[in-house]
Amino acid sequence: MANLRTPLYQWHYHKARMVPFGGWDMPVQYTGIAPEHKAVRSAAGLFDISHMARFSFGGPDALALLEKVFTNSVATMKDMQVRYGLVCKDDGGILDDILVYRWPYGFAAVINASNREKILKWLETHRAGLNVQIQDQTFDTTMIAIQGPKAVELVAGMFVDDVTKLKYYFAMPTRYKEKGCVVSRTGYTGEDGFEVMVPNVMGVTLWEEFIAKGAVPCGLGARDTLRLEAAMPLYGHELNETINPIEARLSWAVKLDKGEFIGRAALQKATLDKTQPVRIGLEIDGKRAAREGSAILASDNTPAGTVTSGSFCPWTDKSLAMGYVSPQLATVGTKLLIDVRGSTLDATVVELPFYKRKK
């Protein structure tokens, strides 16, 4: 089956190298991963994230359905608030990590592109007996992220409302050139910034206005190295159906006391299990990168775990990796080894995130 294309596909096609990702044809880089990565850390970068799935929820039982499938609390969210959390199976394994938006009139969720159909099916299964309308609006809007220290001054004046007043993890409906749109203060780079959903007819216009104002178009390559430096997990790498949020160190996004939800009993048990592997950050000596699947070894060469993401990171100028190891080897400062195609790299367990922006 042919891959899906975002409304910005034609724009990317002539300027970027395209790759298949989560069922979509997406730009991996325009000029280069390193310059794009640095543009986001030092000024402002632009990402087409229209491949992310967007669902809306209406009806009297929308809240009940979301509380049932989402590990974080929805009832305690304020109107216009955005919250990160997981969708888990009964055994606590992660089906996806998602954002939930609360509107005065209903809810919305942003889902990973590769999990769109799986989560839609999951929601259909668990809505039985509930009065809720779920709509997949992925193809109705263009979603663009503007990220970096210059993002605030760059968006100023572009929308009818002053979106620069938005607090972190809040969103607002507003208008862009007479057309309704949604702006949120969210992102996946470790920088301040916004994510904007506009009707498809305005997609290229908004994209080109951001560029005219100085934002640098960035591909999925930089998006991956940026999120790695910021130690944000990526579904399919740090997260999958055999890993639970406690192992992934996402217990802050699991509210065991909020009431019943799918996976609650298993996750309660997991919080008490001190033997399960945990997600760690590794800083590697030298410039060689650890790659997903590389074995992590204890200093006596015994197997300790596996790398889930690794790359040389352009801003910190370090070779960084995330992975899972047994808890007794997860202490910051622990010296470990990584087996990379037959040679061994020296690595040290470090605090996460690797990179934190200055406030």
Binding site: Q29, I33, A34, G221, K287, F312, P314, V340, R341
Partner: protein, 137 residues
């Protein structure tokens, strides 16, 4: 296409240039574009004997790790030291020539051909471009 006609090419995207019995070797512009900016290079030491198809080094980018293969039988007689860390003087490797000038200043090693070895089995620029085209590039 930008592949010089005086070079010969391996299907694994190395280029080779013969001068007497010395082959200068690097990787093609296409290889660099696929790899994206290089972040790390490792080359086997001078004196290493190589057989055709054997790895002579590793190149990494932000995105991936790839082996570099010797397209000929021979012995490494020189390396482009600017591309490697110099532990004695603590000079750091500079990989920009590989990125910016892969067919020139970005050369990697010089190999002295083993007796009887030739470049005849390698692709011409035209054949290499046909390979890239057939791979859909």
């Amino acid at each position: 296409m930008s592949n010089p006609s005086d070079l010969r090419y391996a299907t694994s995207h190395e280029w080779a240039k013969l001068d007497g019995d010395i082959v200068t070797l690097g990787i093609t512009k296409f290889a660099i574009e696929q790899l994206t900016e290089p972040t790390y290079l490792e080359l086997k030491p001078v004196g290493t004997a190589l057989t055709k198809g054997q790895p002579l080094g590793i190149i990494e980018s932000v995105k991936s790790t790839s082996d570099i293969y010797s397209p000929v039988d021979g012995t490494i007689v020189e390396r482009n030291e600017l591309l490697l860390d110099d532990k004695a003087t603590k000079r750091k490797a500079d990989l920009t020539p590989v990125n910016d000038d892969p067919f020139g200043k970005g050369w990697m090693v010089k190999i002295k051909l083993a007796p009887g070895a030739t470049l005849d089995h390698l692709l011409t620029a035209e054949q290499y471009e046909a390979q890239l085209a057939s791979e859909g590039h």
